[in-house]
């Protein structure tokens, strides 16, 4: 697919979503966008994710195939570093450590290298390249913080850790309302990921609309959120009223919440609904990845393949039958003379 098609179809799809909300608000469809869409989105998210995970879970894992990234456990005197124990895990305990590092620290991405070819020579060199890791992890964690901060709208009283997050987030105490750094970082990180996708020729070449779409969507969400907080102020009390009424399954749409709120909410809903049906399922999938979540002990504990096939083999008897004379002549021992 050409870059233009991939890029612009995703861009206009998100723009179109914004258009849909604005049209809907023009037609006073507040209940649709304030109540129906959020419920449907959340339902799709949970049902979809459960479906996905169950679908994967029902597929057997016929072989134990960890990608080993360290010294195996073998002879007792062969030293295994901490890194070896984690990346060539012999027991489930170490597999858990490996998985935690993958999920929480993006361990494998941290390893990233770039290659450069000097044609004179020729000489290939490899150098550590952690930009993708840096922006990816920044993006994911800032998103998480932003998400958790939003719990203040859905809870009453607001839990302590949300207050705590808020206070860290507004650490710099600049501006009024105080600037919350996570939202800004999120926007910067996701923008970087987009720029990388466009400017790295290889990544650009492989990118599909479904790669640009979530990026534009998240940019839209972060951007509308920032606009809402700092410029087009909305009635925060009314927003919380709506959020709580949704949580209590007693939806009430208060009047006078600004339009920008509905844009923000709708984009979030689309993200939720889209999640299980897209590459974003990697969030759940990583936990099931057989190259990461299995120990490297296949010679120590037998792994069971539930569909281990019965196959036709060529037995020794058949072999000897075919070669008996030749074996005899060559002086090899035989089962049957």
């Amino acid at each position: 697919m050409s870059f233009n098609l991939a890029f612009y179809s995703a861009f206009f799809a998100v723009l179109g979503l914004v258009g849909i909300v604005l049209l809907g608000l023009g037609a006073h469809l507040y209940v649709i966008f304030g109540v129906v869409v959020p419920y449907v989105a959340v339902l799709l998210f949970f049902v979809g994710m459960i479906y996905r995970v169950v679908r994967w879970g029902r597929c057997p894992v016929p072989f134990r195939i960890p990608t080993v990234c360290g010294q195996q456990q073998s002879l007792p005197w062969i030293k295994r570093t901490l890194g070896d124990k984690i990346e060539s895990p012999f027991t489930t305990r170490w597999v858990i450590v490996r998985m935690l590092l993958e999920v929480l620290c993006f361990r494998s991405l941290f390893r990233n290298l770039s290659v450069s070819l000097d044609k004179e020579g020729p000489k290939l060199s490899y150098f550590s390249n952690k930009w993708l890791w840096l922006w990816a992890i920044t993006f994911h964690y800032s998103f998480l913080v932003v998400l958790l901060r939003h719990l203040r709208f859905f809870t009453q009283p607001v839990p302590g850790f949300v207050h705590f997050l808020d206070s860290i987030d507004s650490f710099f105490e600049i501006g009024l309302p105080q600037i919350q750094i996570s939202g800004i970082i999120l926007l910067i990180a996701v923008t970087f990921l987009l720029i990388r996708r466009i400017t790295n020729p290889q990544v650009r070449y492989i990118s599909l609309p479904s790669d640009y779409f979530p990026l534009f969507l998240i940019i839209g969400i972060a951007f509308s959120g920032i606009l809402m907080r700092y410029w087009y102020k909305v009635d925060v009390v009314a927003v919380k009223e709506l959020a709580l009424s949704l949580v209590h399954l007693n939806p009430q749409v208060p009047k006078g919440i600004g339009w920008i709120f509905y844009v923000h909410l709708f984009l979030v809903c689309v993200l939720f609904a889209y999640f299980p049906f897209s590459k974003l399922v990697h969030m759940a999938g990583i936990f099931l990845s057989p190259t990461r979540n299995l120990p490297n002990n296949s010679r120590y504990v037998r792994h069971i393949n539930p569909w281990n096939p019965v196959v036709k083999v060529h037995t020794y008897e058949e072999y000897e039958e075919e070669f008996r004379e030749k074996m005899k002549e060559a002086g090899l021992p035989l089962e049957k003379e």
């Binding site: 050409s2 597929c59 080993v68 195996q72 990544v203 569909w307 281990n308």
Partner: protein
């Protein structure tokens, strides 16, 4: 046969800039030198595989059955349901591109479809079209595409330009393993009889004669005897090899890849192993045997389908049982050890008729192999050296300046990293590592693995081998390295041409060749005999003049 361009020309042709045309609109050109010959009908017949006809990838018509598309898609659905890896890896790739420049075929060639992500996308696009609803509805916009005859050929071309080395999988944030995807792709190809002959023939040979090369039992006897004669000329030790073949009641069954006894430099490793085992028998009473029936450690079934792999692998346990040995010792071979370490017990176990491997000489119990009952010769030798059971004279390898190549499968499929290094450091004095981003779990394939080592595939092989050879070049120039040591038979077959192409002046050897050189035999220890030649018949350091005179 393809004309192989000069190294300079090949390097100059590498261009990492993707073409202007989107990848769904480009098709591979089947240029001579970039792909292997198709499988012969006779080999498919021996195995009872589908679509038995001589297959020529260069021809327009691949002689597929009329319902080939159905077979392909049904096969795909079946595998999506049987392998979690396959379904998961089809679903969760985010196309971040971290894998892009990790593939040796991409680094040495620049073809974007050799980026692991795009290689997987070739199949993923089919998966989306036929098995996901966004793909069914949105088609191309969702990255989905029809399975056409051309697309099928394209998938074939790139499934046989992946050596299943798993380097990309090390770097993937979700552990997506292109090897798994290639394996699935190749299983689908085999449903339609579209294997390479360089895989299909060894599989058929191995099934019938016990080894990839199709050597019949009497042939093995004469080859082994020839090697033992050579060994006797060099060391004065006569190994009575016939007494060790198909011998019942031995302690261990020793299984090596047939590459070790078929051609040099593999044969030097084999001679080293003979010498080593003979030493252990005479000195410590270790009883060993080798089998003509299970005369192959390697398993090209791995490159065909999981069923084929199981059918070939079954011989190891069957023969160990028939001969009544206690446990199995495995030789130096790369993919063989992927099969033994990660698949064998699952497929053909439990091997409850064998004992937990115990080295009778040192008393060491190989606890980590208690289920499979199979020990790598490097583990075994390292244990012996550690316990001081092998008198070694590393200066006998002083004519070598050694570097070590981690073969893909023993490193990323097993984690056998320190044992070989421990042995090398004990048997030679000059050892230098290649740059750290090219060894251990980040090691590069020789470019000829997974059945791609055929002569007619030479351009792809030289391209794919560039990253490995280039790292060798670095230590060759910096430290004067003149031999690349490895523990893989495919390596030993493919490095000589690869190195002479990219780094002339560097040889290739196995670890047990070096062990054989360094091993001080009883007569030598007592001063009755003196070793003047290495196992290749070349003079040892200090004996150059003497040899000339003779």
């Amino acid at each position: 046969m393809a004309e192989l361009p000069k190294p300079k020309e090949l390097v100059d042709s590498i261009d990492y800039t993707p073409p202007a045309k989107p990848w769904m609109e480009t098709r591979p050109e089947f240029k001579p030198g970039t792909y292997g010959y198709g499988v012969k009908a006779k080999n498919l017949k021996i195995m009872g595989f589908p679509n038995q006809r001589d297959f020529f990838p260069s021809e327009e018509d691949w002689k597929l059955p009329e319902n080939w598309k159905e077979i392909f898609l049904e096969g795909m659905e079946d595998r999506l349901n049987r392998f979690r890896s396959f379904r998961l890896f089809m679903d969760i790739c985010v196309r971040c591109g971290a894998c892009a420049d990790k593939c040796h075929y991409f680094i040495g060639g620049g073809d974007p479809k050799n980026m692991p992500v795009l290689r997987a996308e070739l199949l993923r696009s089919i998966y989306k079209k036929y098995f996901t609803w966004p793909g069914k509805i949105l088609g191309k916009l969702a990255g989905a595409r029809e399975l056409t005859y051309d697309v099928f050929k394209e998938i074939w071309y790139y499934m046989y330009q992946c050596s299943e080395c798993r380097r990309c999988s090390v770097f993937c944030p979700y552990g997506i393993d292109t090897c798994e995807i290639t394996m699935m792709g190749r299983e689908l190809m085999n449903l339609l009889g579209c294997n390479l002959n360089w895989i299909g023939e060894p599989v058929a040979n191995c099934y019938r004669t016990g080894n990839h090369l199709g050597i019949e039992p009497q042939g093995i006897v004469s080859i082994f005897e020839f090697l033992c004669d050579e060994l006797a000329d060099i060391t004065g030790v006569k190994v009575d090899i016939k007494a060790h073949l198909n011998r019942k009641g031995a302690d261990i069954l020793f299984i090596v890849p047939s590459g070790s006894y078929f051609a040099d430099p593999g044969t030097y490793t084999m001679e080293g192993e003979f010498l080593f085992l003979d030493y252990l028998e005479k000195k410590y009473g270790l009883k060993w045997t080798m089998s003509t029936y299970a005369s192959e450690g390697g398993n090209f079934g791995l490159f065909t389908s999981n069923e084929a792999m199981k059918r070939l692998n079954a011989k190891m346990y069957a023969e160990a049982k028939r001969l009544g040995v206690k446990w199995i010792l495995g030789g130096e071979c790369g993919h063989m050890w992927r099969v033994i370490h990660q698949y064998m017990a699952t497929m053909n176990g439990p091997a409850d008729f064998l004992e937990v491997p115990r080295n009778p000489i040192t008393g060491t119990v190989f606890e980590h192999a208690k289920e499979t009952k199979m020990v790598h010769i490097c583990e075994f030798t390292a244990d012996l050296i550690r316990h001081g059971k092998l008198p070694l004279d590393p200066s006998r390898n002083d004519h070598w300046v050694v570097t070590y190549h981690d073969s893909c499968n023993p490193s990323r499929g097993m984690g056998l990293l320190e044992e070989p290094r421990y042995i090398i450091k004990n048997v030679c004095n000059n050892f230098y590592e290649m740059p750290e981003n090219t060894i251990r779990e980040k090691t590069f394939c020789c470019g000829s693995g997974a059945g791609l080592g055929s002569e007619e595939n030479i351009i792809t092989r030289m391209r794919g081998g560039l990253p490995r050879a280039n790292a060798v070049k670095y230590v060759h120039e910096k430290y004067g390295v003149n031999v690349l040591c490895c523990i893989c038979a495919i390596d030993r077959a493919s490095f000589p041409p690869l190195l002479s192409y990219w780094v002339p002046g560097v040889d290739c050897c196995g670890i047990h060749e070096l062990v054989g050189n360094a091993l001080v035999l009883p007569e030598e220890e007592r001063g009755i005999r003196q070793r003047k030649m290495d196992l290749r018949g070349n003079p040892l350091k200090g004996f150059e003049d003497e040899m000339e005179e003779e």
